[in-house]
């Protein structure tokens, strides 16, 4: 019994799991360089990630604030957007956690779950307000990592993808490569900034700031395997309760593997997530192949021209 109690209430981290306890610390000097294109850190540890269960997100934005406080992300005081309670609009260089607020007319399955239904016009359906905290997906095959020419982007020993701000030269190749629009250059310094899955905290055996701040455990942090198992259990529970809309997004390695995946109540595009994200760099091989054919044809043509010219 005692081993299943959370270390930090609301954290979802249990006493039994020491999987992310780091023994010893590496300094930049002792840390081996990661070869370009390598997906995983040489000394692999269990891959860590986020499971964001949007069905219990109360939209408090504590994750946004905790992230910014811990990582020294600047605030951007703008105007009211008029988009429900969302005034940070999207993920970006200065917003590494972003809570989306979606107001929609739709039957609320939660009410069916409890045998309660609000009467109302059939046509409109009932109102529901979806909230979801978005974050960098720390992809299994991260296109940003593949295109980064400086090695600033790297795969950590926790399987996460991190930008090293002292190496990033601001080339911006990673920005269009990301299928989720996560990577973004900060106007003030031109460099790219994004969620590190609190790399520094993980190195100290702490969970990321957002997960710790989340009061309802909507954001859960842990070894990805365990999180996926947990998420499947939760999904099953919801389906049994009649919440047919519930689905996982990014939990299936065969479709598109994400280190940060989600439990949603509607189609991903409703939450501003691409329904079918693509690893653009997967096409590199075939692109290079086509280029080689073209180059060969060119050489042949030139040779033919010379041959002709000799006549």
């Amino acid at each position: 019994m005692s081993d299943s109690h959370p270390i930090i209430p609301g954290s979802g981290i249990t006493g039994a799991s020491d999987a992310y306890n780091i023994e010893g610390r590496e300094t930049p000097e002792t840390r081996p360089l990661i070869p370009l294109g390598q997906r995983y850190y040489a000394e692999e540890k269990p891959r860590m990630g986020f499971f964001t269960d949007t069905t219990v997100c109360i939209g408090c934005k504590a994750c946004e604030v905790a992230c910014k406080e811990w990582n020294n992300v600047p605030d951007v005081i703008g105007e009211l957007t008029g988009q429900s309670y969302d005034n940070t609009s999207s993920l970006g260089a200065n917003t590494w956690r972003h809570v989306a607020f979606i107001e929609q007319r739709k039957p609320i399955k939660m009410q069916q779950e409890a045998g309660l239904m609000t009467p109302g016009s059939e046509e409109d359906g009932e109102f529901r307000w979806l909230m979801s905290s978005d974050v960098c997906k720390h992809c299994t095959e991260a296109p940003c990592l593949d295109v980064c020419p400086t090695g600033s982007l790297f795969r950590t020993e926790f399987g996460t993808v991190v930008v090293q701000e002292d190496i990033c030269n601001g080339c911006g190749y990673c920005v269009p490569a990301c299928p989720f629009g996560v990577l973004d250059r900060r106007q003030e310094d031109g460099r790219v900034w994004k969620c590190t899955l609190c790399y520094d905290r993980q190195k100290d055996g702490l969970e990321p700031a957002c997960a710790q701040a989340c009061p309802t455990d909507s954001i859960q942090f842990g070894p990805l395997d365990e999180l996926r198992e947990k998420a499947n259990g939760r999904l099953e529970m919801l389906h049994e309760a009649g919440v047919d809309d519930a689905r996982l997004y990014g939990a299936n390695e065969e479709e598109y593997g994400m280190g940060a995946f989600f439990l949603l109540l509607d189609d991903p595009e409703v939450y501003g997530l691409p329904p079918d994200p693509e690893v653009v760099t997967r096409k590199f091989k075939s692109l290079w192949g086509a280029a080689a054919v073209a180059a060969g044809a060119l050489v042949a043509g030139v040779a033919a021209a010379f041959a002709g010219g000799a006549r």
Partner: protein
């Protein structure tokens, strides 16, 4: 209900989410669809200010369908008690109770008493002297008949004057149809709530109500909570695990600030403040305030020990323990009369600590005019808030109604330390005291409240040291010798020493283990009797942080922090067992009588003398808790019963009754009496009211508005509008309107709107949202406007203050303002600037013939 828990108590709301995951049904009844509604199984909209009609409808549903918990109701509530023949109900008097005096706009409560005896309330207007003076006598007798029972009862609940039948009649017209008519809530939806509540109550199950200022901030605020109390008593949901009525507080330790009060009319531990004329000495005070039976029978011991804490060695039996040093009441000395006194010039100085009245209080203009007419003003806060800067940047400076050079107020700004910069305790809604330790030293001149008050007192005492004026003895004789922290660079007093004094000690200076040994002879000292034991064994019990999984499987986790009284986690928990002392059910067992051991046992500290048998009957002449039977859980009441009907203690009636808010676009569908007849009004030029339904100008202000908070900001914004990471999340003042109202008034999402009342006009950005629904009430559609109130002139993000729109009108029991329901007009575009703003509001007032109260 009356709470937006997910937004305003997100940390506590994690347990609601967890309960839902375990299968609990969450129902949110609120005018708006909020983040709480989004997390609930069911959202039920209602018109702001009509909750008593809704809850009264539930009472009626329970009674009509025989859904009440009969054994609980008969044995543990005053349902069987026969009420005085002179009592007349609102059903008889068209919305008034017997004893109403239109001249003084007050009630003589004597006709509300039980037949054959008089009892005094466990709280509230105990001695009733504040109303007529004459009634002070009625609290004296308070004796029960044979065997600790009221003299006349009918356990069959059929006597026409028993509380049960009076209740039935009182709510007989609160039908589902009437609920729909008044609240605008569809009947089917209301019935779902009533049924869900009944289904989830009884021996095997319990239901809880959570409320916040959405219930309290009305002219009938106390009666809102009373209605919930009636429901919970009828359903057997008090004193049992999973039951209760939970007051969600607006700040950390608001509970603590009533236990150790910052209120004018109570002393620590809910001891009443003495009155000037009725309480000439300690004996008279005790006699007039305490009942002979029930826990308040020990009032003298608690009072004497408090006086010992205040005046230590100077307090002796010979000098009545310095009882005469205590200030006396001569009337209502709450903040509101004081504000009027500032405007009228007799109140010259003002301390503002932990509040920001220029933004956070109703009728902001009146608040600022008051501040501008002081000699001196002390503001303690993290930064220069609007209450300190009003003299150069208030809206009245912009309109020309105030001129900086003409304001004589000398403002002293004292920077305050944050809770992370000081030691202290928070008392939460569950009465749990949790100690917090200083994490960092305060910067610059920032200091704790404790430092400020201690050194202020020290300096005042130094100045008076040579005084021979007898009035200064009260200050010079004070116990004012708190130790200073050894390491402190600026003489910070030791907060734990203060806690130790609150927890109390005996004649050997040993900390009290609980309130039980507190004596009336001056041998014990205790700063707050209900907190006695918080320093037991010389240990700061509030600082205990032992997690529940290290507490031997007791899910109540008694070793996490400390709860008053006596570390009891659920009060009145005797009610978790049946009259014979057996748990009502295995599933809900909590404390029970162990016949073998001859004592009460269970998961919590029993809220009854541990060896008092369930069949105990008091002998004639027994006093205090000994006068309460063994089968009566509500030991603070003179009769040990939960009060469905309140014979004493309330100024506005023994049963909650639906009255329209002071400003309402509708007439009272139930009675000729429109609003609470004894609500407090301030008819003054600075405080004009919008006309209500029935007045010719009512249609000038056709919409209902309500004010509230957002997760992203805290109250009047002093703590959050100064923080970039919070300001960016809600950068501008806005209003929330339905698409229907937007269409009716030409409002555009993301555009601007001006909201107008008789007080002023403010501007706000517009959010058009389905989260606000128009309600159909009395055949008409009424639109509601939602207004967060966080903005003001200072900070990173600024904006107009919603509270400027409200008039001052109060609940008569606790003097809380009606912030949650009033009327307004709304139109597109920004408000006029400068004197043009004043002209706009004057124009509205003229058209509406706004008046100064009445009704």
């Amino acid at each position: 209900m009356g709470s937006n828990m997910a937004e305003n108590h997100p940390v506590g709301f994690q347990w609601v989410v967890e309960a839902r995951l375990r299968g609990a049904k969450i129902i949110h009844v609120d005018p708006r669809f909020t983040r709480t509604s989004a997390m609930s199984n069911l959202h039920v909209p209602l018109r702001a200010g009509t909750d008593i009609a809704f809850l009264g409808g539930i009472v009626n549903y329970i009674l009509e369908n025989d859904r009440y918990f009969r054994d609980y109701v008969v044995h543990y509530t005053n349902a069987p008690v026969i009420v005085s023949e002179e009592y007349a109900d609102t059903e008889d008097l068209d919305g008034l109770f017997s004893g109403y005096d239109p001249e003084s706009r007050s009630y003589d409560a004597s006709t509300w008493q039980y037949v054959g005896t008089t009892v005094s309330g466990a709280a509230g207007q105990r001695e009733m002297g504040g109303i007529t003076g004459e009634q002070a006598h009625y609290a004296q007798a308070g004796e029960l008949g044979h065997g600790g029972e009221p003299p006349e009862m009918d356990r069959t609940l059929e006597h026409p004057r028993c509380v049960f039948q009076i209740l039935k009649k009182h709510y007989s017209r609160y039908t589902p149809e009437m609920v729909e008519e008044i609240c605008g809530t569809p009947k089917e939806l209301f019935l779902q709530v009533a049924e869900a509540l009944c289904e989830n109550s009884g021996r095997e199950k319990t239901s809880a109500f959570c409320y916040a200022v959405g219930w309290t901030q009305h002219t009938v605020g106390v009666q809102y909570i009373r209605t919930a109390a009636i429901i919970q008593l009828l359903l057997g949901n008090i004193g049992r695990p999973g039951g209760g009525i939970l007051a969600l507080r607006g700040h950390a330790s608001i509970q603590g600030s009533t236990d150790i009060p910052t209120l004018y009319n109570i002393l620590p531990g809910y001891l009443p403040m003495p009155h000037a004329h009725q309480h000439q000495n300690l004996e008279m005070y005790v006699e007039r305030n305490s009942a002979k039976s029930g826990y308040w029978g020990n009032m003298k011991a608690y009072m004497v020990s408090l006086l010992k804490a205040y005046w230590g060695g100077a307090a002796t039996a010979e000098n009545d323990f310095c009882f005469d040093y205590l200030p006396r009441l001569t009337g209502d000395h709450s903040i509101y009369p004081a504000l009027m006194g500032m405007i009228d010039g007799w109140c010259k100085g003002f301390f503002v600590m932990g509040e920001n009245p220029a933004v956070g209080a109703a009728n902001g203009k009146l608040q600022r005019l008051a501040l501008a007419n002081l000699d001196w003003l002390i503001v303690r806060d993290f930064s220069e808030i609007e209450s300190a800067s009003f003299w150069y940047d208030s809206p009245e400076i912009e309109t020309g109604e105030l001129k900086t050079e003409e304001i004589g107020t000398e403002v002293f700004f004292m920077p305050a330390a944050a809770h992370t910069e000081k030691n202290g305790s928070f008392t939460n809604t569950q009465r749990l005291l949790q100690w917090h330790f200083r994490a960092v030293e305060p910067q610059g001149d920032c200091r704790s409240e404790l430092w400020f008050m201690y050194h202020l007192g020290r300096k005042v005492r130094e100045k008076l040291a040579n005084s021979t004026d007898p009035k200064d003895r009260a200050i010079l004789d004070l116990n004012w010798d708190y130790p200073i922290e050894e390491e402190s660079e600026f003489e910070e007093p030791d907060a734990e020493a203060v806690l130790r004094e609150i927890g109390g000690w005996d004649e050997n200076n040993e900390p009290l283990p609980s309130y039980l040994p507190i004596k009336a002879d001056g041998s014990t000292t205790c700063g707050c009797w209900i907190y006695a034991g918080v320093y037991a064994d010389e240990v700061n019990q509030a600082a205990r942080k032992k997690p529940y999984w290290e507490q031997g499987g007791n899910w109540v986790a008694p070793e996490w922090a400390w709860a008053w009284p006596m570390n009891r986690r659920i009060i009145y928990n005797r009610a978790s067992a049946d009259p014979e002392g057996r748990p009502w059910s295995e599933r809900k067992k909590y404390i029970w009588w162990d016949e073998e051991q001859g004592q009460w046992t269970g998961y919590d500290v029993p809220d009854i003398s541990p060896t008092k048998r369930p069949d105990y009957e008091p002998e004639a002449g027994a006093v205090a808790e000994d006068a309460i039977r063994g089968d009566k859980p509500f030991i603070m009441q003179a009769d040990g019963r939960g009060w469905i009907f309140v014979p004493a203690g309330l100024t506005d009636g023994p049963l909650p009754t639906h009255y329209e808010p002071h400003e309402s676009p509708f007439e009272n569908a139930l009675y000729g009496q429109q609003s609470n007849p004894v609500r407090e009004v301030y008819p003054r030029p600075e405080n004009p009211y919008n006309p209500s339904d029935g007045d010719p100008g009512a249609r000038v202000f056709p919409y209902v508005f309500t004010t509230y908070r957002l997760t992203e900001h805290h109250t009047a914004g002093g703590m959050t509008r100064t923080v970039g990471h919070l300001s960016e999340l809600q950068p501008e003042m806005f209003c929330e309107v339905s698409p229907e109202l937007a269409k009716e008034r030409g409002l555009e999402n993301d555009g601007w709107a001006t909201i107008i009342t008789s007080r002023t006009a403010i501007e706000a950005r517009v959010l058009v949202t389905d989260r606000v629904v128009p309600m159909k009430v009395q055949g008409r559609v009424v639109h509601q406007v939602g207004l967060p109130y966080h903005w003001g002139s200072k900070g990173i993000v600024t904006g107009d203050s919603a509270n400027d729109l409200l008039g001052l009108t109060l609940d008569p029991n606790v003097h809380i303002g009606e912030y949650k329901a009033a009327t307004c007009d709304i139109r597109p575009g920004r408000r006029p600037r400068g004197p043009a703003l004043v002209r706009l509001v004057e124009d509205y007032r003229r058209r509406a013939e706004s008046h100064n109260g009445g009704g």
